[in-house]
C-alpha cells in the first residue's frame, strides 16, 4: 500500500518560486513594496530618510487597525463595509459622552466605551448575517447607512475639537522622537503601540487558537465547517464582532490623533482599506490572508498615497497615478492566483 505515493514528496515542485509565492502571498506584497520604494527613491532620495520612514509608520496606524478587522472578516469568507461607520460612531459617541459626563475620564475608560460600542454594532452585523443567512456585503451596506444615518440624525453633526483631556494627551504622546538636520521634529506616536498590540493579538487569535483556524475553515467552506461540528454562528459573531471591536478602537485612535471628533470622517474610505488587505494577500473569496501580509498591504497603500509629492506628481495627475499603481499591483496578484 505504499505504492500509492511511490514518488517522494520532494519530487514535485513545478516551480518552487511560484509555489512559495502561492503559499506566502505576503512575499509578493513585500516585493511590490521594495520595487515601489526603489522607484520612488530613485526619483527623490528623501524617500529613504528616517523622517519618511517614521511618517509612513504613523500613517499606517489607523488603516492598520481597521485592516486587521477587515482581514478577520475576509478570512472567514465575508466582507464588511460598515466598519468605517462603526469607527466614527464609536469615536463620536464616546467623545461626546465623555465631554458631557466626565471630561477628565481616563483614556482607558474611553477606549473601553469605544470598544464596547464597536463590539455591539459589529455583533449586530454578525447576527443579521447568520440569523438570516444573507451575504455580508448586503448586510453591511445596510448597516453602514443605518449607523452613519443614526449618528448624524440623532447624535450630532458638529465637530468636537475640544477633546477630553486624556484623549488629547494620548493623541500627543510620543514613543520616540528625534530632530532632523533641517530642524524638523520627527516622532512616532504612542498610538503605534496600539497597532502593535492589535497585530499581535490578531496574529495569536488567528494562528494559535482553534477559533482562529475555525475562522479560516468557515472561509474555506461554511457548510463543511457546520457539518464537522464547528459552531459557525459563533465564528461569524466573532469575526464581525472583532471587526467592530477594532473599528471602535481604530475610530477612537483616529480621533485622538486627528485631535477632533468629526462625525463626517472615515466613511468613504472602506474600499481603500479593503484594497489594502487584498493587496496583502487575502482573497475576497475568503479563507486566506495573514496578519503580516495585511500589515504589508497597509504599508504598500500608505506608500502609494503618501509619495506623490515626493515623486513630483502634479495634483491633477495624482488619481491617475494612484489608480495605475493599484492596477499594476493587482495585476501581479492576479498572475499569482492564476498560477496558484
Amino acid at each position: 500500500m505504499s505504492g500509492l505515493l511511490g514518488e517522494p514528496a520532494a519530487a514535485r515542485a513545478p516551480s518552487s518560486t511560484w509555489r512559495s509565492l502561492t503559499r506566502r502571498p505576503e512575499l509578493v506584497t513585500l516585493l511590490l513594496i521594495v520595487a515601489l520604494s526603489l522607484t520612488i527613491g530613485l526619483i527623490n532620495d528623501r524617500f529613504f530618510s528616517v523622517q519618511n520612514g517614521v511618517d509612513l509608520l504613523r500613517s499606517s496606524i489607523r488603516t492598520g487597525i481597521f485592516a486587521l478587522g477587515v482581514l478577520t472578516v475576509l478570512a472567514a469568507g465575508g466582507i464588511d463595509v460598515s466598519f468605517t461607520a462603526i469607527g466614527v460612531f464609536a469615536l463620536y459617541v464616546t467623545t461626546k459622552l465623555t465631554m458631557s459626563v466626565w471630561p477628565d475620564a481616563p483614556f482607558a475608560l474611553m477606549a473601553l466605551a469605544s470598544l464596547a460600542i464597536g463590539l455591539g454594532l459589529g455583533l449586530v452585523n454578525g447576527l443579521i448575517v447568520y440569523r438570516f443567512r444573507v451575504p455580508s456585503l448586503i448586510v453591511t451596506i445596510g448597516t453602514q447607512y443605518v449607523y452613519r444615518g443614526a449618528l448624524l440624525a440623532f447624535v450630532g453633526t458638529a465637530y468636537i475639537t475640544d477633546l477630553p483631556r486624556a484623549m488629547d494627551a494620548f493623541g500627543r504622546a510620543t514613543l520616540l522622537q528625534t530632530t532632523t538636520a533641517d530642524g524638523i521634529r520627527v516622532s512616532l506616536p504612542a498610538a503605534f503601540l496600539v497597532l502593535v498590540a492589535v497585530a499581535l493579538l490578531t496574529w495569536y487569535v488567528l494562528r494559535r487558537t482553534l477559533l482562529g483556524r475555525a475562522v479560516y475553515a468557515v472561509g474555506g467552506s461554511l457548510p463543511i465547517a457546520e457539518r464537522l461540528g464547528f459552531n459557525v454562528g459563533r465564528v461569524l459573531l466573532f469575526v464581525f464582532g472583532y471587526a467592530g471591536l477594532l473599528a471602535g478602537l481604530g475610530g477612537l485612535v483616529h480621533g485622538a490623533m486627528n485631535r477632533q471628533a468629526n462625525p463626517f470622517d472615515l466613511v468613504g474610505s472602506e474600499l481603500d482599506i479593503i484594497a489594502a488587505v487584498v493587496l496583502g494577500g487575502a482573497r475576497v473569496t475568503g479563507g486566506t490572508g495573514s496578519v503580516p501580509g495585511t500589515l504589508l498591504g497597509v504599508v504598500l497603500v500608505v506608500i502609494i498615497n503618501n509619495s506623490l509629492i515626493l515623486m513630483g506628481v502634479p495634483s491633477t495627475w495624482q488619481k491617475v497615478v494612484i489608480g495605475a499603481i493599484i492596477l499594476v499591483a493587482s495585476g501581479i496578484f492576479a498572475r499569482r492566483s492564476a498560477t496558484a
Binding site: 523622517q51 475639537t161 533641517d182 521634529r185 495634483s315
Partner: protein
C-alpha cells in the same frame, strides 16, 4: 402672490451638519425670528452636487416662495435653478458669482481679493521670502481654487521673493488628508516656510503637522477656516491666522435679499442691507458683493464663537 405676508423660504446648503453650515443655519433662524418668515435650511447628507440638485428638484414640488442656495457646484445647478425660476420661485445664491440662473448672488467679498488678502498676511509673516504650499479642498471646488489662485497670483505679482512648491494639493475637505499632505510637504521640502489653506479643515491638518514637527515658530500658516476648527492651533501658534466671513450673516443676507425680491423692492449699488459687512454693498449685474472679511489671529479669535 406678493400679498402673502408669511413666505416659505428654504436655504439649501452644500452639505448639511458641518460647522460652517450649522453657523449659517443660525443666521437663517435669526432671519425667521426677526421677520416671522417661515425660513428653514436643508442640504444633502453627502457633499455631492448630484444630491443637492435632487433636493432642489424635490423642493420645487413643494413650491416655496424662495430658495436660497449655496451651490456645491454652480454649473451643475443651472438647469434646476432655471426650472425653479420658471415656476415663479425666487432664487438667490451665495458663493456662485458665475451663476446664470439666479436672481441675485450674494458674495461676502470678492474671492480673488480674499485670496490675495490671505497671501498678504502670509507674506508679511514670512517676511516676503521663502517657500510656501497651497492646499484646496478639491480641484473641482470653484471657490477654493479662486482663493488659491488669488493668492498665488498676488504672490507672483508682489512677492517675488516667495516661491510656491508643488502644485495645489487636494485635501478632500478632510483634516486628516490635509495633515498627511502637510507632512509630505515637510518631507519633500524641509525648508518650507508657509502654507495657505482653503478648506476650513486645511489649517487644522496643517497646524497639527507643524505642531508635531516643532515648527510653530518657524513657519507661517494662513487659510480660510472657522475659529471653532482652528482655535487650538491659533493658541499654540501652529496656525498664525485665518480669514473667513460669517456664514450666519451670509445666510441672513441671502434670505433678506429673497424677501426684498418677493416684496418687489429694488437692490442698488451702495445699499445698506442692515448687516455688518453688507452695509455698503456693491452691485454688479446680479452679483451683490459685501466687505464681510473677517481676519482673525490668536489675539481676537475668541470674539467669534463659531
Amino acid at each position: 402672490f406678493a400679498q402673502a405676508k408669511k413666505y416659505d423660504m428654504v436655504t439649501v446648503v452644500k452639505i448639511t451638519g458641518i460647522n460652517w453650515f450649522n453657523r449659517m443655519e443660525q443666521g437663517v433662524k435669526k432671519f425667521a425670528t426677526d421677520t416671522k418668515m417661515n425660513a428653514t435650511q436643508t442640504g444633502p447628507a453627502q457633499a455631492d452636487a448630484a444630491q443637492q440638485a435632487a433636493i432642489i428638484e424635490d423642493l420645487i414640488a413643494r413650491r416655496p416662495a424662495a430658495i436660497a442656495v449655496v451651490p456645491f457646484s454652480p454649473e451643475t445647478l443651472e438647469p434646476v435653478l432655471k426650472k425653479a425660476m420658471d415656476r415663479g420661485i425666487v432664487v438667490v445664491t451665495h458663493e456662485a458669482s458665475n451663476q446664470k440662473n439666479t436672481m441675485w448672488d450674494v458674495e461676502a467679498f470678492d474671492n480673488t481679493a480674499f485670496g490675495a488678502r490671505l497671501m498678504d498676511r502670509l507674506s508679511k509673516c514670512m517676511g516676503g521670502s521663502g517657500k510656501y504650499a497651497v492646499f484646496v479642498g478639491s480641484l473641482t471646488s470653484k471657490t477654493h481654487n479662486e482663493w488659491a489662485d488669488g493668492g498665488i497670483n498676488r504672490q507672483k505679482a508682489a512677492y517675488k521673493g516667495m516661491q510656491m512648491v508643488a502644485t495645489k494639493q487636494e485635501t478632500y475637505d478632510d483634516a486628516d488628508k490635509a495633515y498627511e499632505r502637510a507632512k509630505e510637504i515637510l518631507r519633500a521640502y524641509p525648508d518650507i516656510k508657509g502654507f495657505q489653506g482653503s478648506a476650513s479643515t486645511d489649517v487644522a491638518g496643517i497646524g497639527r503637522a507643524i505642531e508635531e514637527a516643532g515648527l510653530a515658530g518657524k513657519t507661517c500658516v494662513y487659510g480660510t477656516s472657522l475659529p471653532s476648527i482652528a482655535g487650538k492651533y491659533l493658541d499654540t501658534g501652529a496656525v498664525d491666522g485665518i480669514g473667513f466671513w460669517d456664514p450666519a450673516d451670509a445666510g441672513y443676507v441671502m434670505n433678506k435679499v429673497a424677501q426684498m425680491v418677493l416684496d418687489g423692492k429694488k437692490i442698488t449699488n451702495g445699499m445698506n442691507l442692515g448687516i455688518k459687512g453688507y452695509n455698503k454693498v456693491s452691485v454688479k449685474g446680479k452679483v451683490i458683493t459685501g466687505q464681510a472679511f473677517v481676519d482673525v489671529d490668536k489675539s481676537n479669535y475668541k470674539q467669534y464663537p463659531f
